[in-house]
C-alpha cells in the first residue's frame, strides 16, 4: 500500500521533531533537577535564541557564528533576569502562584519579542546551504542532522555536568533534599540561579538550530515549550535520558499519526499521549527520582 512506502519519510521528520522536543525537554529537566520548579517560559527562550540571532545578523550585520554566540549570551542573561525578578521573589510561594508567574513571564517574553522584533516571522539560513540528502527514496535535509548532533552533544555535556562536576552534584542535591543541601552549605538559590542560566542557554542553542528548518515568530515558542514539557514528563520526569526518550517518542508518534488521521489533530495527539502517560504511569517511562520528595 502507498502508506508503507512513505512511512520512512514520516519517521525521518518524526526524528527531527523528536530531537527538537528533546532539546527543549533537557532545559526543563535541568531546572527541575536544581529546584523542582517548572519553567513555562522555556519555549520562549528557544524562540528568543532564533529571534536575537536574526536581529544580530540583519540589523547589526554580524557574521552568522558570532551572532549565534551573542544570542546565546543574551538569552542566558535573560534567564538570569527571569530568576532574579520572578522566581526568587516567589521562592516561598505556593504552587499555583509559581505556575502563573512563569506563564506570565512567558507571555511577557513573547509579546515583548513582538514589540521589539515585529510580528512578521523571520527565517535563518541553513548552516550548510541547501544540501538535500536522498537516502533510499527518503529526503533529509542536512539541518535535521545538525539538530540531532546538537541534541546528543548537549546531552553529553549535561551528563558530564551532573555526574562529574561538583556543581552538578550540588544542583541535584538541592533539588532532591533541600534541607540536607542547606545543611551541607549549598545555597539553593544560587543553584537555581545557575540552573536557569544553563537552561536558557540550552533553549537558545535549540532555537538557533531549529529556526533554519522552519521560521521563528513571536508565538512559536509557546507550543514548542509545552511539547518539550510533555516529552520530559513522558520519558521520566527529572532524568536526562528520560527527556531524550520522551522527546523522540513524542516526535515520532506525532509524525506517524499524521499518516493515519487528518493533519489537524497533530497537536491533539501530543496532549493525548500526555494524558495517557499521566494516567497510567505518572512517573514517566523511565521512572522519576523526584516523585517522593516533598514538593510533589
Amino acid at each position: 500500500m502507498e502508506l508503507l512506502h512513505i512511512i520512512p519519510q514520516f519517521l525521518i521528520s518524526g526524528l527531527t521533531f523528536g530531537a527538537i522536543y528533546s532539546l527543549v525537554a533537557l532545559g526543563f529537566v535541568t531546572i527541575a533537577r536544581a529546584s523542582q520548579i517548572i519553567n513555562f517560559a522555556q519555549g520562549e527562550f528557544v524562540m528568543l535564541g532564533g529571534m536575537v540571532t536574526f536581529f544580530f545578523i540583519k540589523n547589526v550585520h554580524l557574521p552568522y557564528l558570532l551572532s549565534a554566540f551573542l544570542a546565546i549570551g543574551v538569552v542566558i542573561c535573560l534567564g538570569f533576569l527571569l530568576h532574579l525578578l520572578v522566581i526568587y521573589p516567589l521562592r516561598k510561594a505556593s504552587l499555583p502562584i509559581l505556575l502563573l508567574a512563569t506563564l506570565g513571564a512567558s507571555l511577557f517574553l513573547s509579546s515583548s519579542s513582538a514589540l521589539f522584533f515585529g510580528t512578521l516571522p523571520k527565517a535563518l539560513p541553513p548552516f550548510s546551504g541547501k544540501d538535500l540528502l536522498e537516502i533510499g527514496g527518503v529526503s533529509l535535509s542536512a539541518q535535521s542532522l545538525f539538530v540531532l548532533i546538537a541534541t546528543f552533544f548537549v546531552l553529553f555535556l549535561l551528563y558530564i555536568l551532573s555526574h562529574y562536576t561538583h556543581l552538578g552534584k550540588a544542583m541535584e542535591a538541592s533539588s532532591t533534599d533541600p534541607l540536607g543541601a542547606d545543611l551541607c552549605g549549598i545555597s539553593r538559590h544560587l543553584m537555581t540561579f545557575l540552573a536557569f542560566g544553563v537552561c536558557s542557554g540550552i533553549g537558545a542553542l535549540a532555537g538557533i538550530f531549529i529556526t533554519p528548518l522552519f521560521y521563528v515568530s513571536y508565538h512559536s515558542g509557546t507550543l514548542i515549550g509545552l511539547k518539550g514539557f510533555i516529552s520530559a514528563v513522558i520519558g521520566g520526569w527529572g532524568k536526562y535520558g528520560g527527556a531524550i526518550l520522551g522527546g523522540f517518542i513524542l516526535g515520532v508518534a506525532e509524525s506517524l499519526s499524521i499518516a493515519f488521521i487528518p493533519a489537524g489533530y497533530k497537536d491533539g495527539v501530543a496532549f493525548l499521549i500526555l494524558l495517557l502517560i499521566l494516567y497510567f504511569r505518572p512517573k514517566g517511562i523511565l521512572g522519576s527520582p523526584f516523585m517522593d520528595s516533598r514538593r510533589w
Binding site: 517548572i38 505556575l99 508567574a101 507571555l107 489533530y265 491533539g268 496532549f271 493525548l272
Partner: protein
C-alpha cells in the same frame, strides 16, 4: 490631529484612583472570613444595590458591555473558586468548559432551534457531564501533574473544536446565535444583558454561599487542607474533588451560554490557554477561600485588560508584567491586607535605611 489616541486621560486616571482609594476607606469589606461571613449583612445589601443601580448611573454602552463581560468572567471565577479556592486543586483547562457551554448553546439554538432559556441549562449540564468524564481519571493526579493534565485537556478540546468543522464550524465558528429570550422579553441591548448576567451571578452567589456553609463546603476545605486527614474522618476524597470539578464546570457552562447569547458568535480562538490563565488569575487575585473576592478580581482584570488595550503594542507586555507583580505582591489576593501591605512596602524602605544607619 488626524488620529485620536486615548492617551489623554492617563493623568486623570491616576488622580481618580488616588481620590477613590481614599473613598474606599469607608466602603464595606469584601472578604468573607469564617462563620461571620455566612449571615447576610449590610455589606451584601450594599453590593446588591450597587450592582442594580450602577448601570443606570453610567449609561455609556461601552461600560455596559464591559460589565457584561466582567459578569460572565465573574461566573467563571466563581465556579473555579470552588475547585481552586476551596478544594485547593489547580485547573488550567477551565476555559474548555466555558467553550463547551458556548458551543452547546450555539449548536442547540442555531441548528435545532432550542429556545435560549433551555439551551442555557443544557449548556451547564453538558459541561458538567464532560467534567465528570474528564475528571474521573484526571483527578487522581496532584499538584503540577493535575495542572498539566487539565492544560492538556484544554488544548485537546481546542484542537477537536477546530477540526470538527461539521459540528462546530471549525476555525470559523458559528454565527447568528439569537439573543437570549425569556418568554417574549428579548435581551438585545447591553443594558438588558447586564441585568441578565448579573442577576444570574447573584443567584449563583447565593447558591454557592449555601454550598460553602453546608457539609459539602466544609468537606472541600478539609480536602484542601489535607487529603489524608479528610479521608480519615470519612470524607470520600475523590468523590468530593469530582463534585467540586463538576460544579465548577456547570457554572462555566452557564457562563458560556450567556457569552454565546451576548456575542452571537462562537469562535474557537476565544477559549485558549490565555483565558484559563486569566480565570485562575482572577481567583488568585481575589483571594483563595473567598466568595466575593474572585468576582471583584474578575471585574478588576476585565477592566485592566480593556484599559491596557488602548496602549496597543504595549498591552500584552504590560499585562505580563502586571500579572507577575500582582503575584509577587499579592499572593493572598488583593483585598487582604492591601492597605497594610502598601504601608509595609513604604515603611520597608524607611526601616531599611534605619537599619543601615544602625549597622554603621
Amino acid at each position: 490631529m488626524v488620529e485620536r489616541i486615548h492617551q489623554d486621560f492617563r493623568k486623570r486616571e491616576i488622580l481618580y484612583s488616588l481620590a477613590l482609594w481614599l473613598l474606599s476607606l469607608i466602603l464595606p469589606d469584601p472578604q468573607l472570613h469564617y462563620r461571620r461571613e455566612y449571615r447576610l449583612r449590610w455589606r451584601d445589601l450594599f453590593y446588591l444595590l450597587a450592582i442594580l443601580l450602577l448601570p443606570l448611573l453610567f449609561s455609556d454602552p461601552h461600560f455596559h458591555h464591559l460589565m457584561v463581560l466582567a459578569g460572565i468572567h465573574g461566573i467563571l471565577a466563581l465556579g473555579l473558586t470552588l475547585f481552586l479556592g476551596y478544594a485547593g486543586q489547580i485547573s488550567l483547562g477551565h476555559a474548555a468548559f466555558f467553550g463547551i457551554g458556548t458551543y452547546t448553546t450555539a449548536i442547540l439554538t442555531t441548528r435545532h432551534g432550542w429556545p435560549p432559556f433551555l439551551a442555557f441549562w443544557a449548556s451547564g449540564m453538558v459541561a458538567s457531564i464532560f467534567a465528570y468524564l474528564i475528571g474521573k481519571p484526571l483527578l487522581k493526579l496532584k499538584g503540577y501533574f493535575l495542572a498539566l493534565a487539565t492544560l492538556g485537556f484544554g488544548e485537546i478540546f481546542l484542537v477537536l473544536i477546530k477540526e470538527s468543522a461539521s459540528l462546530t464550524g471549525g476555525v470559523i465558528g458559528i454565527f447568528g446565535i439569537p439573543w437570549f429570550r425569556i418568554g417574549g422579553f428579548v435581551f438585545d441591548t447591553y443594558l438588558k444583558q447586564y441585568y441578565l448576567v448579573w442577576i444570574v451571578l447573584v443567584g449563583l452567589v447565593l447558591f454557592t454561599k449555601n454550598l460553602i456553609r453546608s457539609k459539602v463546603g466544609r468537606a472541600y476545605m478539609a480536602v484542601a487542607t489535607s487529603e489524608d486527614a479528610a479521608s480519615s474522618v470519612g470524607i470520600h476524597v475523590s468523590r468530593i474533588k469530582l463534585e467540586a470539578f463538576m460544579v465548577g464546570a456547570f457554572y462555566a457552562g452557564l457562563a458560556g451560554s450567556l457569552f454565546a447569547c451576548v456575542m452571537s458568535t462562537a469562535t474557537p480562538e476565544t477559549f485558549s490557554l490565555n483565558l484559563s490563565v486569566l480565570i485562575v488569575m482572577m481567583v488568585i487575585l481575589g483571594g483563595m477561600g473567598n466568595l466575593y473576592g474572585p468576582i471583584l478580581g474578575a471585574i478588576f482584570l476585565t477592566w485592566l485588560i480593556d484599559t491596557l488595550a488602548q496602549y496597543q503594542d504595549y498591552s500584552l507586555p504590560l499585562y505580563g508584567v502586571i500579572l507577575i507583580l500582582l503575584l509577587i505582591f499579592f499572593p493572598d489576593g488583593m483585598g487582604t491586607r492591601l492597605r497594610v501591605r502598601l504601608i509595609y512596602l513604604i515603611s520597608y524602605w524607611g526601616r531599611k535605611k534605619r537599619r543601615e544607619k544602625v549597622n554603621l
